[in-house]
């Protein structure tokens, strides 16, 4: 009997010890919403740092790392390509559990805003060190790395000023001059003529991951939230959604799902235009070399004559995770990569990453003529447009809003629903999911 008890108590003690080991005595996880750590600028730049990135961005970092290591003997930079599709699963779970993250993370603008809203203590506060660099970065891109009080959490990397990529051969065949398109009404009228003359549609929309509606909204200077309130049913939003609906009702939209379908529809000339960001250019040169000379770029059509003619789509930042033990080196590397004209331009040349660092935009490579576009100064067009991008508000609830807006977009475009009433009910749904008020 006594033997059994003692065995059991040993067992209990063992389980207890195991429990502490596995749970770390922190069953609730995370910790309080405490302010972000301030970056210590005094520390030595030494030791190793690890960076999570993906795709061409990871390639660029791997290419630039040796030069940095040479400048700072004893430093080792590890770049890990974690893939794009599931990168945020890894980052989110690391932020949520307060463990497992590397020193530096690549995060896209709208997602960075979600993270700042949800996990403000997950990143180093870079305000003191990055603050002085503010004027050198594109204002809209800068806004995606700061909170509502202007506190800086991340340094902008690239930006996605938007324009319309036009297939000149299709336009010619239809007798439409791309340069004559000034407003969205003109764009739709051009689309109707192109369809009538050539049978081609005007643009591709992915109903499960649409990026056209947020692009139009940002062109009007607005995000899904304004002043912390829900703004998906403002007059501007209804106007943008009405453009989407008209595109559909006139039969100008080729609905395709996924990146592959988007690329092949453009490559095969099923559509005459791609209203999207500058990075699309990299896809054209990589996947459609045979179409050289067949594209031209015009600024986005305006909502009213003389209105803003661009928007933003995409763009990443680099931040320092508060789990980093080597923040000084991390900051030095971020600065080396992003706040440096030569490196930024080399990333545009080699990897097609369009810099948010303004001094880089006056480089001759950007202002000069582009061979692929038959000698047009395409990058200059985008560099000029970038200045007009309106900063918009994302908040920590962006993901929730975004899912619901995507649903609304497909309801309006394919379900034939009314833009105003659909967006009104979307605003209600966002309100109940986020406890935010609806802007009036």
């Amino acid at each position: 009997m006594s033997m059994r008890t003692s065995r059991r108590s040993v067992l209990r003690a063992g389980i207890g010890a195991l429990a502490v080991a596995v749970t770390g005595g922190c069953a609730t996880g995370g910790g309080a919403k405490k302010p972000a750590k301030n970056l210590n600028a005094q520390a030595q730049v030494t030791g190793s740092i690890t960076i999570w990135s993906w795709d061409v961005a990871a390639k660029a970092l791997k290419r630039l790392a040796p030069a940095f290591e040479q400048q700072h003997p004893g430093v080792k930079v590890n770049v890990v390509d974690i893939g794009y599709d599931n990168a945020y699963d890894k980052i989110t779970i690391g932020l949520k559990s307060g463990a497992g993250l590397p020193d530096v993370l690549q995060v896209e603008g709208q997602k960075m805003q979600s993270y700042i809203g949800t996990f403000p203590s997950g990143f180093y506060d870079l305000s003191t060190l990055a603050g002085p660099l503010k004027s050198q970065f594109n204002a809209a891109a800068w806004a995606t790395g700061t909170d509502e009080n202007g506190k800086v959490y991340a340094l902008p990397w690239d930006i996605g000023p938007c324009g319309v990529f036009c297939r000149t051969d299709i336009f010619q065949q239809a007798g439409v001059d791309p340069g004559s398109i000034q407003t969205w009404d003109d764009y739709i009228a051009a689309g109707v003529q192109i369809k009538a003359r050539t049978g081609k549609k005007l643009l591709v929309v992915d109903p499960t991951g649409d990026s056209t509606f947020p692009m139009l909204l940002q062109q009007e200077g607005q995000g899904y939230f304004v002043g912390g309130k829900i703004a998906v049913n403002t007059p501007a939003a209804v106007k943008a959604m009405t453009v989407m609906k008209e595109l559909n009702d006139k039969g100008l939209v080729d609905y395709e799902k996924g990146w592959d379908a988007l690329v092949s529809s453009n490559k095969d000339g099923n559509v005459a235009t791609a209203p999207t960001a500058v990075w699309w250019s990299g896809t054209l040169t990589d996947e459609m070399p045979e179409l050289k000379g067949k594209f031209s770029v015009i600024p986005l059509p305006a909502f009213t004559p003389g209105g803003v003619r661009t928007s933003n789509n995409g763009g990443s930042l680099l931040n320092i995770s508060s789990q980093s033990k080597n923040s000084a080196t991390a900051w030095a590397f971020i600065q080396f990569v992003l706040a440096n004209s030569d490196n930024q331009v080399s990333m545009l040349k080699n990897e097609g990453i369009f810099p948010a660092f303004v001094p880089a935009l006056s480089d001759p490579y950007i202002t000069g003529p582009q061979d692929y576009y038959g000698g047009q100064t395409t990058f200059k067009t985008f560099a000029d447009l970038a200045k007009d991008i309106a900063p918009v508000e994302y908040t920590g609830d962006y993901s929730k809003a975004s899912d619901l807006v995507t649903t609304a977009t497909s309801a309006v475009m394919q379900g034939g629903k009314d833009p105003k009433s659909t967006l009104d009910s979307t605003a209600q749904q966002i309100a109940s999911a986020t406890n935010r008020q609806i802007a009036q």
């Binding site: 009997m1 033997m3 059994r4 065995r7 059991r8 389980i15 195991l18 429990a19 596995v22 749970t23 069953a27 609730t28 996880g29 995370g30 910790g31 309080a32 919403k33 945020y88 699963d89 989110t92 779970i93 932020l95 949520k96 307060g98 979600s114 809203g117 949800t118 996990f119 403000p120 203590s121 992915d206 109903p207 499960t208 991951g209 080729d254 609905y255 395709e256 799902k257 996924g258 592959d260 379908a261 092949s264 529809s265 095969d268 099923n270 920590g396 609830d397 993901s399 929730k400 899912d403 995507t406 649903t407 497909s410 309801a411 394919q414 379900g415 749904q429 109940s432």
Partner: protein, 318 residues
Amino acid sequence: MATATTAPHRGSARFVKGRTRPRLRVVHWAFAGPAAALFIVFFAYPLGASLYQSFTTDDGGTQTWAGLAQYRRMLHDPVFWKSLYNTGLLLIFQVPLMIGIALVLACVLNQSWLRFKGTWRIAFFLPSVTMLVAYAVVFRVLLKTDGGMVNQALGWFGVSPVDWLNNPVWARVSLIGTITWRWTGYNAVILLAGLQSIHREQYEAAAIDGAGAVTTFRKIVVPQLRPVILFCSITSTIGTLQLFDENFVLTKGGPDNATMTPVLYLYKVGFDQMDFSYASAIAWAVVLIIGVLSVIQFRFFGQSDKAASTARSERRRR
């Protein structure tokens, strides 16, 4: 050992049928011990944590007790209800369709005159071992609206292009089609093994009685195969209730949530919207639904509980 002397016959205490009161003895636990320890550490603890989390609200890593708030929110969440509706549709249409095809297929593969059986079998089994990443790409190429292979093939018969993945109705059809594509052969192979355990004499007797193929199928195959059919049905039912892979790679639950399922939804709520409390509540609703369905299945098919319980355990982890 004190315990050894209290048990009059060493063997009788340890067998399930034994009458002696169960007691803690090292050797009894020796076999189940490792599994039990692993379950407690790596399953029971996370499970408890998620249950606790479902009763909280989560704000930037701070959890506050919120009682049933998340569950109340679920009751008024149209997306959650739509995901259940979609699951219901799949249970009504997809599962019987797939089991039906698999059954017919198994019968054909069991014909004595059929040659190259191994090759046929692997041809039909192949889809279930495909890597998910390939599945996504290949089906998007096949189902692309403009110039996709399926639409081109339909074009030969004068059918105009179908918007397979972007129209709410057709997206559901595509989902049903792709799940069926992936798992029919798998079920057919299992049913085939069941068929092979039916004795030849029974077919021969039926043939002598002048029974046709359909009669034989109805009178001999189906009743004999009942436990295996049940096994496949239950496996597929649970697979459907936890459906994630297919709609995740194919449509991400869209368009207009037409292909959303509860598990995909909870994944989105947790990982996209970073609301892990609500995600946990949805997960526990799924657990509850599976639990209730299990009880119903046990009531209906009590005598075949062995098949049922094994089937319930068979599901893949990703």
